[in-house]
């Protein structure tokens, strides 16, 4: 026997034992009705060709390996950024379980979310009863300060009206009339997690500013910042706050998950931890301006805020030197506050590090995939480092994103060979990597299959990261974050150099 009670092997080594190999071989030969090894190899080779790529890109009716999630995930993420808020999903409980596991696997922390578990009855007769009962149970069981309601496909297909249903629940006294209940319709079959994020942030503000009471805006000197849907939010939001404190800016983060998804282990379990306070959310209407760090995750929200008479501004995931410069200058312009010397020193350190390492990065060809703002900001940083973004792929970008990304590539000679791929998936990316290979792939954990398949080294720098731990605890935002991105890229370049040659396996690089 390959293992016994005295010698228990884990699965990494267990299935390498001869008994198992024999078993796999036996099944393969007798039950799998496989094509011959040659046929498999030939087909595999064929999928690496230009001819196959053209067929692949002509594909219309199937998405293979989509690098995006659905609306309610973004809505749950958005809801988690507010104090004492329970994200509530009206619809199937299975969807809610996916959102929880998705967030927990990435953040390595508990993720709170309930659903009203609609069943067949609900689908036939409408989800009103489920919602009323669900809100009542949720309130009694978990004592939230706010319940933020989003929907799954099921509720959207049958056309449940959240506004009317919630009003009914309050009339029936299932929950107190003054319990804040912002909501957003978030059908998964429209847009992506970013649309859901946008909808829910707008839903929360709309609840505070219009529905709860008709608030009059009394302008003050504060500014609002919407960090966006960001897998690195715990560290990035803290970094953001540190910078704003250094500048002496009076600010409100709208949706701050830095504590929610990164709570300390101190012997007590807290359902709710951290988040933007509800009063801050209410008073955010009075701010003089709102800055979004992810333009394409907050389009509707910004439009709504602008309608309230505030100045609004948006950046596209400001990564790197110029990106961070743009962030500080925007803040300085919005607030009139100067940029302190301490920040200038940090900037200088980043410049120093970049100059130290360019020799290893210059001309390296890169493929980037992910969300629209993310791919845009990352591409800008890569160009700045003298790297060549060859494929910029985004499955959930708009036409405007595509246009702006093309202009960005055109602005630098290093982007001259770069191509923008909107609405494409990771199976498209596979064809791209085989036909027009690159040195590095930057994206999420889902890139690991491409890494294994095409041999392109993957750098994990985007949500979700399931197979590596704690990346979200160190920032990618700001000058420090740029330094960290730089180091991640460099480490991968050096690992590849070390692995590829014994002769050049050098101690000093």
């Amino acid at each position: 026997m390959p293992q016994s009670a005295d010698k228990v092997k884990d699965h990494i080594s267990l299935f390498q034992e001869p008994e198992y190999k024999e078993l796999f071989q036996f099944k393969k030969e007798n039950y799998e009705c496989r094509a011959t090894e040659d046929e498999v190899a030939n087909q595999l080779e064929y999928t690496k060709t230009w001819e196959y790529r053209e067929k692949n890109f002509a594909r219309q009716h199937a998405v293979i390996n989509p690098p995006r999630a659905c609306q309610p995930l973004g809505a749950v993420f958005a809801a988690a950024g507010f104090e004492g808020c329970m994200p509530y999903v009206h619809g199937s409980q299975g969807c809610a379980a996916y959102f929880r596991s998705h967030l927990s696997r990435h953040f390595k922390d508990a993720s709170v979310c309930v659903s009203d578990s609609m069943t067949e009855d609900g689908a036939v007769f409408g989800g009103l009863n489920n919602l009323v009962e669900g809100l009542q149970n949720c309130n009694q069981l978990y004592k939230p300060k706010m319940i933020a309601i989003s929907t799954t496909c099921m509720a959207e297909v049958i056309g449940d009206d959240l506004s009317a249903f919630i009003a009914t629940a309050k009339e029936k006294e299932a929950i107190p009339a003054d319990l804040p209940t912002p909501f957003a319709h978030t059908p998964s079959f429209v847009g992506s997690h970013l649309t859901g994020y946008d909808n829910m942030i707008k839903g929360v503000l709309n609840y505070f500013w219009d529905r709860e009471a008709q608030r009059e805006r009394k302008a003050n000197d504060k500014i609002n910042i919407i960090p966006g849907f960001d897998g690195y939010a715990p560290a990035n939001n803290r970094e953001l706050k540190r910078y704003l404190d250094l500048m002496g800016v009076d600010y409100t983060l709208i949706c701050d998950v830095s504590d929610t998804f990164d709570s300390p282990t101190d012997g007590t379990y807290k359902i709710y931890y951290g988040g933007t306070t509800l009063d801050d959310g209410r008073n955010a209407i009075n701010a003089k301006a709102t800055l979004s760090l992810q333009e394409w995750s907050t389009e509707k929200t910004l439009e709504y805020i602008a309608g309230k008479g505030q100045e609004v501004a948006a950046l596209n995931s400001p990564f790197g030197l110029s990106g961070t410069d743009a962030f500080f200058m925007t803040i300085a312009k919005l607030t009139g506050k100067p940029i302190p010397e301490a920040i200038e020193v940090e900037r200088g350190r980043l410049v120093d590090a970049i100059a130290d390492s360019i020799h290893w990065l210059h001309g390296k060809r890169v493929a980037v995939f992910g969300d629209p703002d993310y791919t845009y900001g990352m591409t800008a940083f890569l160009l700045e480092l003298g790297m060549e973004p060859v494929h910029v792929l985004c499955s959930n970008g708009s036409g405007e994103w595509e246009e702006k990304a093309r202009a960005l590539l055109a602005s630098s000679p290093y982007g001259a060979g770069g191509q923008v791929w909107r609405g494409k998936d990771l199976w498209h990316m596979r064809s791209l990597l085989f036909t027009e290979p690159v040195d590095l792939l930057i994206g999420s954990s889902y890139g690991k299959y491409l890494e294994k398949d095409t041999g392109t080294p993957l750098i994990r720098l985007a949500f979700p990261i399931f197979d590596r731990h704690h990346h979200h605890r160190f920032p990618t935002f700001g000058y420090q974050g740029a330094l960290r991105i730089l180091v991640e890229i460099l480490d991968r370049v050096f690992e590849v150099a070390d692995a590829s040659s014994d002769i050049s396996y050098d101690l000093t690089r």
């Binding site: 596209n316 200058m329 925007t330 506050k337 302190p340 020799h359 960005l408 630098s412 690089r509």
Partner: protein, 470 residues
């Protein structure tokens, strides 16, 4: 004994600089100035001997001294090997306080035996260090005894750090080869086209840019001393018919003594630069033909050189549009200076100056002639002055070694490593193209625009205009 040896090495008749000196200057020797206490200095004699011999890849290199002599130098040069990797392993006797009180000879013998029994190498090199020299360990006697008992060559390298500079250490390493290694093995296959290459360490694999050229001429490298070499090759080096001596400062004594002892003529040359590579190849071929090789070799060498030169220039031309008119400052030692100058000038770059620190007077003349009026030659440039030059924009790029790397980077000037820690091979025709390619990559890197751009806010921290693309 060491003192005698050092004095002898300091008065090298084969050295052009030394020959140009007056009798009184000669008597003072070339190391007379010594190292200035309190000033920044380079490596020690031990380090010099170690780097000169360590590329013998199949030998054990055992350092007799406290841990850090080996610890600090362990695998710190990119001398590449085509096979054996034993030379990259760090061996040391790791002397401690009690060893220093009671003497380290017994421990040394045990270390030699342990290394021999475990790895059974063709030879073991034992390096003396300051501490073991001070306490009087007789490394030579221990090696002699170990050699007898274990039945393999155990070679003492007597170059304790305090003996002098790194360059002196290079020469002491050469002495160890002369005293104990070269001539101890008779090759069975000596031929009329066998040569040695001296002073080539195969850093970043440069030897491999030269070998194919020699192969095409039918010239066999009997021994490269010591890049990518095997012990037995070095031991039978005395049967070569001619030698090429590179990096002249390091191995000139070895070359001269091999000529005296075994009548192996040598040509002093360089594989940096197109003209130099050609000259060196032609030079060694002439020596071989003089000693009886087929005269046809001369014609074949001319043809090879012409073809390779044409190929190299054709490839260099494509860089001209991006590099023409850009100004370079070269700061390195020895012959590298002028040989690189000619290639850079050919593609239209301006060389505003080159250092001639370790160069012979002949080298200096050549550099001056090449630079013409626009450039100047320097001995050492103090860091502060170099910083000023770069800051003032007198040069667009600095080509130098790691020690001046940060002078360039802190003044926001592009920098390219052309010294021993570099990772690209610049030798031969292909190497020169690679060097120019690297200059292009560094000089035209967009990072410099970002590095030089001032913080986009004014002195009071008030923002200026945002970059247009954001």
């Amino acid at each position: 004994m060491l003192k005698q040896k050092v004095q002898e090495l300091m008065n090298e008749p084969g050295c052009a600089t030394n020959q140009a000196k007056s009798a009184a200057e000669k008597k003072r020797g070339c190391g007379a100035k010594g190292l200035l206490p309190g000033a920044a200095a380079g490596g020690c004699a031990y380090d010099g001997a170690k780097i000169a011999l360590q590329p013998i890849t199949d030998a054990v290199h055992l350092v007799h001294g406290p841990l850090a002599c080996e610890g600090n130098s362990w695998d710190s040069r990119n001398a590449a090997s085509s096979g054996c990797t034993l030379y990259r392993r760090g061996f040391t006797t790791d002397l401690s306080e009690l060893d220093i009180i009671h003497g380290g000879e017994r421990k040394l013998y045990q270390a030699i035996r342990a290394a021999a029994e475990r790895f059974w190498p063709p030879a073991i090199f034992v390096y003396q260090t300051c501490v073991t020299a001070l306490i009087g360990d007789d490394v030579e006697a221990v090696c002699r005894e170990a050699s007898k008992r274990l039945g393999l060559p155990v070679i003492p390298v007597v170059a304790p750090g305090f003996a002098g500079s790194k360059n002196l250490g290079n020469r002491l390493g050469g002495e160890a080869l002369l005293d104990h290694v070269i001539g101890t093995v008779e090759p069975e296959d000596a031929g009329p086209n066998d040569i040695n290459i001296l002073g080539e360490y195969n850093l970043a694999g440069e030897l491999w840019q030269i070998r194919p050229l020699l192969d095409r001429l039918g010239i066999r490298v009997r021994a490269c001393i010591t890049g990518d070499s095997r012990y037995v090759e070095v031991a039978s080096a005395h049967r070569a018919r001619a030698a090429i001596m590179l990096c002249s400062q390091a191995m000139v004594t070895l070359a001269r003594k091999m000529r005296e002892r075994w009548e192996i003529p040598y040509v002093e040359g360089s594989f940096y630069g197109i003209q130099d590579t050609s000259d060196t190849l032609r030079g060694v071929v002439r020596l071989l033909v003089d000693r009886g090789a087929d005269p046809d070799l001369l014609t074949r060498a001319d043809a090879l050189v012409a073809e390779e030169e044409r190929r190299a220039w054709a490839r260099l031309e494509s860089f001209a549009p991006r590099l023409a008119g850009r100004k370079a400052l070269l700061y390195t030692g020895g012959v590298k200076s002028w040989s690189v100058v000619s290639a850079l000038k050919e593609i239209g770059m301006e060389v505003i100056g080159t250092s001639v620190r370790k160069s012979t007077s002949e080298d200096k003349e050549r550099a001056k002639a090449l630079l013409g009026e626009e450039g100047s030659t320097f001995d050492a440039i103090p860091n502060a002055e170099m910083y000023r030059m770069l800051k003032a924009g007198e040069a667009d790029i600095l080509l130098s070694g790691g020690r001046t790397q940060f002078v360039a980077l802190k003044s926001r000037t592009p920098w390219l490593d052309i010294n021993q820690e570099r990772h690209h091979a610049y030798a031969g025709y292909d190497g020169m193209v690679e060097l120019v390619r690297q200059i292009d990559l560094v000089l035209n890197n967009p990072v410099w625009a970002a590095v030089r751009r001032p913080d986009p806010w004014d002195a009071d921290g008030r923002p200026l205009e945002a970059p247009s693309w954001l």
